[in-house]
């Protein structure tokens, strides 16, 4: 367990160094949040359409999306990508640790640290401004559990993204697709309940809702906290499936590496 904890800590510290980026990130998200909030307000204000979420809920959803934006798997790990492309990844094999776990721990830290940094000030501001109406204590507890699961899920996806780089060109293609799908189907672009009704079954099935939609709706109480077990099962089920897939993919990549001599 120790080497994985060490990686987490080291990564965390490295990510804290970028001071200006941290401040700018906050400003960026604030801005984006405002834009999207205004767009949705404009849609709601001038329409009498029936909607599965009321405007307060959508606004809260938008702000939660900004706060936890960094949870979404954006791309493969850049340092690891470099290692793979140059073939130096062979050195990673020299370490006495399970490579997937090593990379997975790293991915968890990479998701967790920046998200934590950026979410707290944004959440404070959004709450103070009255943009987020939190659900009760059970809802928040459920939401936090879902966020933890979301982190594990997201790390699994981004680790897979890193592994696809072993197949460079097609890997990059898959990653770009995965990123787009992650953002879109997690509700970051349009809150999932607002999509046409015929799409809902698909949206509920896919893993991506576990990255954003699920924790957000729990936190604001739009989904009752009682539904947590089912939702958690969905998130963790997909996480496990993706981890298993990732491990299999990595084995294939390693085999390819050894055959090709790196």
């Amino acid at each position: 367990m120790r080497p994985y904890a060490a990686i987490l800590s080291m990564r965390f510290r490295a990510l804290l160094q970028y001071r200006a980026a941290a401040v700018a990130g906050f400003g960026t998200q604030l801005f984006w949040g405002l834009i999207r909030m205004m767009i949705f307000l404009a849609f709601y204000e001038n329409s009498s359409a029936k909607t599965p979420m009321n405007v307060e809920q959508v606004v809260a959803y938008v702000w939660l999306g900004q706060a936890f934006l960094l949870l979404i798997p954006f791309r493969s790990d850049q340092e690891l990508e470099q290692l793979i492309r140059t073939g130096n990844v062979a050195y990673e094999l020299l370490r006495p640790v399970d490579l997937f776990n090593f990379w997975y721990s790293r991915a968890i830290a990479t998701r967790f640290a920046p998200t934590m940094l950026r979410s707290i000030p944004l959440l404070i501001i959004a709450t103070l401004a009255g943009w987020i109406h939190w659900g009760g204590l059970p809802s928040i507890a459920a939401g936090i559990a879902a966020l933890a699961a979301a982190t594990l899920l997201s790390a699994a996806i981004s680790t897979i993204m890193t592994i696809t780089i072993f197949w460079t060109i097609s890997g990059k293609g898959i990653n770009s697709l995965l990123t787009t799908l992650s953002y879109f189907f997690s509700g970051l672009i349009v809150p999932l309940p607002l999509f046409p009704d015929f799409l809902q079954p698909l949206l509920n099935f896919l893993p991506f809702r576990g990255l954003g939609d699920v924790p957000f709706r729990l936190l604001i109480g739009q989904m009752p906290a009682g539904e947590l077990p089912m939702l958690l099962a969905h998130q963790l089920g997909w996480t496990i499936a993706l981890v298993l897939f990732g491990r299999w993919l990595l084995r294939r990549a390693m085999a390819k590496l050894i055959i090709q001599g790196g």
Partner: protein
């Protein structure tokens, strides 16, 4: 009329400091500490056209800062510089048109392009008239043996090949002054000689003024009549190599090759400073005993198969100069 005049250059830098550890990382988010570093502390010198100046000093002494100011990249805090009658940082474009700069560690050529295409691009950048370009290019290609390399992408060249191409590239526009920053660093022996030879030709035959920054003392000994030693922003010495030596020591070295490996050399006026198998090196002061006399005495008293007299290695001389300045 000196071609380059440097007067009382002063340049300081602000360097950010970081505190280690996790707490330091958080603290760093809030406040940064700065350190002021004086790179140049009133540097002055001047060069006539056609001089070849060796510019030496330990790392961080201020050499690159000087070169950057001379080429207009950097503006000093105070002081004055005139290159070909112009102020480099005020008239950047006019000045860089007439100078060439080669950095030993960074190429100016385009990494993915064949060498000849880099040259072509430079022709357009410097607006070199076609006939001047052709004649310069052909001459440089011949002098530096580049004809087989012209179609090779720069990234595929060895260090020695790349340096020769970089030298050519810097001269395509017929600059009157050239700054060479560590041009022989990392090169194999053959390439070093080729580069040195080229630099010598450039200076002696084409009268190009050259400032050569280097850590390689063989470069200095082979090429420079005049040497400028800088340390911690201050010029320590400015003069010929011979004077430099004299400043530190008049000592000379005598290396003797014994016939018998277990022989021994003793002499009242010379001190043994090293011994390797049959090679014994002694040091002596030619002002207390003339070399001829010492040699005669040693040959008379010992069985010698060969001997030679040398100056102390220039590295030692320089190190002594840095050292005495530190005190």
């Amino acid at each position: 009329m000196p071609q380059i005049v440097v007067e009382k250059l002063v340049k300081t830098f602000h360097v950010a400091e970081r505190t280690p550890g996790l707490w330091g990382a958080f603290a760093g988010l809030v406040k940064r500490r700065h350190r002021i570093v004086t790179a140049l502390n009133g540097v002055s010198f001047s060069l006539e056209a056609g001089e070849l100046l060796g510019y030496i000093g330990p790392n961080g002494a201020g050499k690159s800062t000087t070169v950057k100011i001379l080429s207009g990249i950097l503006v000093p805090d105070s002081g004055n510089v005139e290159v070909l009658g112009l102020n480099p940082w005020k008239s950047r474009i006019k000045v860089v048109r007439k100078i060439g700069v080669v950095f030993g560690q960074r190429t100016q050529l385009w990494w993915d392009l064949p060498v000849i295409e880099s040259f072509d691009l430079l022709r357009e950048i410097y607006r070199i008239p076609q006939d001047q370009y052709m004649s310069n290019k052909n001459e440089l290609v011949e002098l530096l043996n580049l004809s087989v390399l012209l179609d090779t992408p720069v990234r595929q060249l060895s260090l020695g090949q790349r340096m020769r191409c970089d030298l050519a590239a810097a001269l395509l526009h017929s600059p009157e002054i050239v700054y060479l920053d560590e041009p022989t660093i990392g090169l194999d022996a053959v390439s070093k000689l080729a580069v040195r030879d080229f630099i010598k030709k450039l200076n002696r035959e084409r009268r190009v003024t050259i400032i050569l920054t280097t850590h390689d003392m063989d470069d200095i000994e082979a090429l420079c009549n005049r040497v400028l030693v800088i340390n911690e922003g201050n010029i320590l010495t400015d003069g010929t190599l011979a004077n430099l030596r004299k400043m530190v020591t008049t000592e000379r070295r005598l290396t003797v090759v014994l016939v018998n490996e277990d022989g021994d050399i003793t002499d009242p006026d010379a001190e043994v400073i090293s011994r390797e198998g049959r090679y014994v090196t002694l040091r002596f002061d030619p002002e207390s005993i003339p070399p001829a006399e010492l040699i005669a005495r040693i040959v008379a008293n010992h069985e010698i198969s060969d001997l030679f007299v040398e100056n102390p290695p220039i590295e030692e001389v320089i190190a002594k100069i840095y050292g005495s300045a530190a005190r």
